[in-house]
């Protein structure tokens, strides 16, 4: 950022008169922005490249020991019903938490603007606390809470309502942080948002329902999508909370990987990661190609396109 500052102060010294100078400094800034972005993506993907390479590791035990190329871990993953189940469980937890958090969080962000101050201040405090409480603490406290209510000897169970632990406890516990995450994201988007469109819609006797979907929702969409992606990501790979509140048959991929620590983490998870990466990237590429083709002929209706158009 300091580079930009120098370049820009230089440009400002000449004010608006030296247009050419600004353009040149502008080109520098553009190049720097692009270069920076590229570097960050390299930074994010460098370990992933290593992960993929090590998925071909022929070692029998530890992922960190390189022992030549082999497809054995792909065979293992394809043959292991356990690993597939853990992956499926992770996807279930990620999607369920993502969807619930996105809906509840967005609703809360919208509703909160309409609430009086006396309500908003404590609600904000709760939102921040939910982010502040260290994961290990909330995990243990939530476990104790669940155990004393819906656990085998809990209050709810004693009146004959057997709930127990399972996906529902994982998703409920993970949703706490993620609802706050979505709430904060959508609120950042809402902050100072223009109400003129909404009012125009009402003036034209648009129903509130239609107004919301046609005016407000599209404006919020980037935040909603971002919220969903983040909450999916963080619950899909959550370890601490999941390991404390899971029930039988609901272990997820991170639990499997951490469970291997004692014996040495094998490249099995690298193979899982590589396969997932392959699937997601090909979906993205196909989507991108389709979008591009449609973009040439007419309106872009894909979600990607919709998000993109918000900025245009």
């Amino acid at each position: 950022m300091s580079t930009e500052a120098q370049v820009l102060t230089g440009a400002r010294a000449d004010g608006g008169r030296a247009k050419a100078r600004i353009d040149r400094s502008g080109r520098w800034v553009e190049a720097w922005l692009r270069g920076h972005t590229l570097l960050v993506y390299l930074f994010l993907y460098l370990p992933i490249v290593v992960v993929v390479v090590f998925s071909f590791n022929g070692t029998s035990r530890r992922v960190t020991n390189w022992e030549g190329l082999s497809l054995k871990w792909y065979e293992f993953v394809i043959g292991s019903r356990e690993v597939q189940k853990y992956l499926l469980n992770s996807v279930i937890v990620g999607l369920a938490t993502g969807i619930i958090s996105t809906i509840v969080g967005t609703m809360a962000a919208l509703g909160l603007q309409r609430t009086p101050r006396w309500f908003r201040a404590p609600f904000d405090a709760l939102t921040y606390i939910s982010v502040i409480v260290p994961e290990i603490v909330i995990a243990l406290a939530t476990l104790v809470f669940f155990a004393s209510t819906i656990g085998p000897e809990g209050l709810v169970t004693s009146v004959g309502w057997k709930i127990g632990f399972g996906f529902h406890t994982i998703v409920a516990a993970l949703s706490l942080f993620n609802i706050s995450l979505v709430l904060l994201l959508v609120r950042a988007r809402l902050s100072g948002m223009d109400r003129t469109h909404v009012e125009a819609s009402y003036d034209l006797y648009g129903t509130p329902w239609r107004t919301f979907w046609q005016i407000t929702f599209p404006q919020l969409l980037p935040a909603i999508v971002a919220g969903f992606l983040l909450s999916f990501t963080f619950s899909f790979d959550d370890y601490v909370i999941t390991t404390f509140v899971n029930g039988s048959g609901t272990s997820t991929i991170p639990l499997y990987v951490f469970g291997q620590i004692r014996k040495g983490v094998t490249p099995a998870t690298n193979a899982v990661a590589a396969v997932m990466l392959l699937i997601t990237l090909s979906v993205l590429i196909v989507g991108q190609l389709l979008t591009r083709r449609r973009g040439a002929t007419g309106r872009d209706t894909s979600v990607a396109g919709m998000i993109a158009e918000q900025g245009a």
Binding site: T59, S60, R61, R62, T64, N65, E67, S80, E82, L140, L143, V144, F146, A147, S148, G151, P152, E153, G154, G164, F165, T243, F244, V245, N246, G247, S248, G249, T250, S251, L255, Y256, V257, F258, G259, Q260, I261, R262, K263, G264, V265, T266, A268
Partner: protein
Amino acid sequence: MAEQDLDALLKRMARARVPRRGFLAGSGLAGLSAFIAACTPGASSSPSASNAASSAPSSEPSSGGESPSAAASPSAVAVTETEGTLLMYNWADYVDPDNIEKFKTDFKVTDFTYDTYASNEELLTKLQGGAAGQWDIGAPTCEFVKAMVEGDFIEKLDWSKLPNAALIDPQFQNFYKDADADLNNYHLPKDWGTTGISLRTKVVKEEVKTWKQFFEVAPKYSGRIVVVDSPGDVFVAPLKSLGYSLNSVDPKELGEAREILRAFAPHVLALNSDTYDAQLANEEAVLGLTWTGGIADLVDKPETADTRYVIPEDGTLYWMDTWVIFKNPPHPNSAYAFLNFIQDPAVQAKESETNRYATANTEAKKLVDPKVLADPTVFVPDDVVKSGLLEGAQDVSTDPLRQEIWEEFKSSIGKH
């Protein structure tokens, strides 16, 4: 003496797999055994026990430290009918996949659920938090059995359903001694291993055969020492080098150990339980207080063939993971069926080969691949086992002074 002879005889019989009906009838004990079976509530509730007329669950093993509890039920009968479901809570990839498949086919188990945990502390904390009652069996490390019994989280094992328990070396079954001996009725040894010294002999030329020598050479290899991130293991070194028990909570002894750790901490590069072998491989570390995992792979590779694993001669810790049945298991028959199945010598030998940890099952050991058997990081030589160099870990991690020392050690490693 007589009792031990009887034990040996009974074990031999269990090994020889005399059809139990014949054996008991021949020895004139059939009537007695039927009587006992009728009187034992645990046995009659099990379908397999009730249809096996000759099953003779012995009385509960005495809580005396002398008699091996498992061997006390030679006429036990395995559970053959399961509930069709088994819920296991274990370290990841800790049971051979083929053995799981075999168990599923042999016992008509259609739903085999394998959930994983990453540390004993987590498992215990989770149970103390109230998450019990969800799984059938688990495999914590043996020192945690005590807290689990005290918390009423695990079941006392019904040896009459575990004939293969007779194959376990009593030394391992009787992990708990003296006043705690009854705890041995709550677990069935899974496998065991040691904590020791790893070194790259290419760099470390000195002889390092004891913890004492380990601390002596440490300053020379300052910044190239890796230590597992586990207090129970780290305390072993100073205490054993001083000739004390590794489970000591004596303030004077711990005080001496603290001084050694204080002097040692600045030389440590890393506290690393996960990838210490990788650090040894790339020579970032050349000396280590480590477990055995991964070391054999280094020895196998030409570039790192100079790696050695040493069981210190001033004594060290052996850990043992052990099968337990959680309190009120949803599928008790499956649980017993699995525990007995996994101790079948052929099955257990395969476990040892897959997991590369020593089995406590004497019959299984005879079937283990000689190459694995000869690997010092897997099977400790018999004379070392007998020499009394190995000491089982007790659960002393909650001792306040130990905690204080550990916290001090943790926050001062690598800092000169």
